[in-house]
Amino acid sequence: MRKFFLTAALSLGVVTAAPAMASEGGHIKRLDWPQDGIFGTYDRASLQRGLQVYQQVCASCHGLKRVAFRTLTDLGFTMDQVKKIAAEYEFEDGPDEEGEMFTRPGAPYDYFPSPFPNEKAAAAANGGAVPPDLSLIVKARRGREDYVYSILTGYEEAPDGFTVPEGGHYNSAFPGNVIAMPPPLSEDAVEYADGTPATVEQMAKDVVNFLSWAAEPKMEERKRIGLRVVIFLVILIGLLYGIYRRVWARVDH
């Protein structure tokens, strides 16, 4: 059974013991990501470009509510730069001493604001489909970076005989091949500060790298500690093996 974004929100499931239904998987492109592998780290320049793509393209429909501006220092920004980025946004705060709410510019402790006040508003503005928050999107999809990249670059002409329902778009990577999201990226949709040519593939890679960081900001710390732990354990195993051999040498076994 194909599950469309549009109908999925309405599918109030009657659950039986066997609700599993195979959804037709789309075509996923396999890429090498700088954060892959034991020693993989995020590409800071790409993260910064990806932030730009998120802010100028994705953010009009998708939130990033779990990411605080203060954490953008991970991308290689200084705290002053982070303050500037945060100050571009306005936040309602309060109540003040008179009991009034007021607006103030964003600060590093704020989180990226979501574009819609609630899910209903998001659905109403997008033909019934709620654009998901992107904070965890890379971890929340099978195929992770490859999947999100494939969606962003998967807009194609529908093959002959394939009818795309109204409000949908053909996408080679999306399960069922019909996605509610219109093609978000087009050539030169952003102008990169570092002069990198803004091709669709480049922007997709950059924003996926950025979203990968957003989903797993502690990945580098994790791998760094992991390496030390593994080295420690290998040495420990060597020592314990020596002890084991020595202790058991006394046993006739």
Binding site: S11, V15, M21, K218, K223, G226
Partner: protein
């Protein structure tokens, strides 16, 4: 040799609370067969993992909020803002899988060497109680992050109880604390998820008490008869188990630090949404064989009963196994059936992970049938008809025979 000390303080305490005498007894006087192989380290390993689960769990609770509105966010706060919170959570989530791996190996080891047989029936049965408690605990723990799979897994599994006639619907409402899986459900699961590990710990103490009453079984399956058959736990098995634990810690670390979501479902990084059913609801891998048994029966009640039966049947195998010989090492026919059972469980696990379509339905049914036939029919019959190999006179003899075989193989 009885416990001796020159310390006045230790003497004073030991006179009133003989904890030092007891430790001395269990470590130095308690007789452990000297031929235990590496498969025997998984028991103490499971105990260590239980402690790790309790420690990481207690730390996680310091930051977790059991409320449907806040649970998912609080887990993400742990991942992002709590110092080493990601480490605690990844240890705890992967630790659950490690716990089941260790315990499943421990159980199959018991099956292979006949550790459930007289006089160790109660050790085996208490172990099964621990398994049931672990399953309940793991299931409820998986619900706590309140992701899509948490919510829908909880919905599917609790709905199973509606299969019971007459009381089914009322029972499910009672379990939920409402008319759907909701905040009361999450709260009680949290409460029980915190309670049950300590119940498991208690059951482990009883398991060990029974074990130290009958003593460990061993690969030869013969009892300790003389001085040459046994060694004290300390330093021999402490050294062996420590090495085993370090190797385990390495494997565990590779998952935690390099593939922390290996056992997880991507869907559980989507906050629970009661209005949107995931296309493919799967339980955690350690439940998959049971899930396959559940789905093998077209009738819901039958499926539920068979699934519970899959564990209950294990309680009676000390009486279903009619062989006088414990260890499969000396049972040329049963040995093969054991490996068929292992394969059968792997098949069931695979079937449980897949949508029930096409040939998999039939394979699932055959595998389920075999699972029960293995215990109810094959075990008693093989025990009667099999001609076992000669059993060694003592553990020491078994060790010498192994040594000889090894030397001739090397030469």
């Amino acid at each position: 040799m009885a416990f001796q000390t020159n310390s006045k303080i230790v003497k004073w305490i030991d006179r009133r609370l003989p904890i030092f005498s007891m430790m001395h007894h269990e470590l130095y006087e308690y007789q452990v067969p000297k031929n235990l192989n590496w498969w025997y380290t998984f028991g103490s390993l499971a105990g260590i993992i239980l402690m790790l689960q309790i420690i990481t769990g207690v730390v996680l609770v310091m930051h977790y909020t059991p409320n449907t509105e806040l649970a998912f966010d609080s887990v993400e706060k742990i991942m992002r803002d709590v110092n080493y919170g990601w480490l605690m959570r990844y240890m705890h989530a992967n630790g659950a899988s490690m716990f089941f791996i260790a315990v499943y190996i421990h159980i199959f080891r018991g099956l292979y060497y006949g550790s459930y047989k007289q006089p160790r029936e109660l050790i085996w049965m208490i172990g099964l109680v621990i398994l049931l408690l672990m399953m309940a605990t793991a299931f409820m723990g998986y619900v706590l992050p309140w992701g899509q799979m948490s919510f829908w897994g909880a919905t599917v599994i609790t709905n199973l109880f509606s299969a019971f006639p007459v009381i089914g619907e009322a029972l499910v409402t009672w379990l939920w604390g409402g008319f759907t899986v909701g905040n009361p459900t999450l709260n009680r699961f949290f409460s029980l998820h915190y309670l049950l590990p300590f119940v498991i710990l208690g059951a482990v103490v009883v398991h060990l008490w029974a074990l130290h009453t009958s003593g460990s079984n061993n690969p030869a399956g013969v009892e300790i008869k003389g001085k040459k058959d046994w060694i004290p736990f300390q330093p021999y098995y402490t050294a062996k188990d420590m090495l085993g634990f370090a190797v385990f810690a390495l494997v565990f670390s590779i998952f935690i630090f390099y593939s922390p979501d290996f056992f997880g479902e991507p869907d559980n990084y989507i906050p629970a949404n009661p209005l949107k059913t995931p296309p493919h609801i799967v339980p955690e891998w350690y439940f998959l064989p049971f899930y396959a048994i559940l789905r093998a029966v077209p009738d819901k009640l039958g499926g539920v009963l068979l699934m519970f039966g899959a564990i209950l049947v294990l309680f009676v195998i000390p009486w279903l196994d009619t062989s006088k010989v414990r260890s499969a090492r000396f049972r040329p026919v049963y040995k093969w059936w054991f490996w068929v059972l292992v394969f059968d469980c792997l098949v069931l696990g695979y079937v449980g992970s897949q949508p029930p379509e096409g040939a998999l339905i039939l394979i699932g049914r055959l595998a389920t049938a075999y699972y029960f036939l293995h215990f109810l029919v094959i075990m008693p019959l093989v025990g009667w008809f099999e001609k076992p190999l000669p059993v060694p006179a003592s553990i020491h003899d078994a060790v010498l025979a192994d040594k000889k075989a090894k030397e001739s193989a090397d030469a």
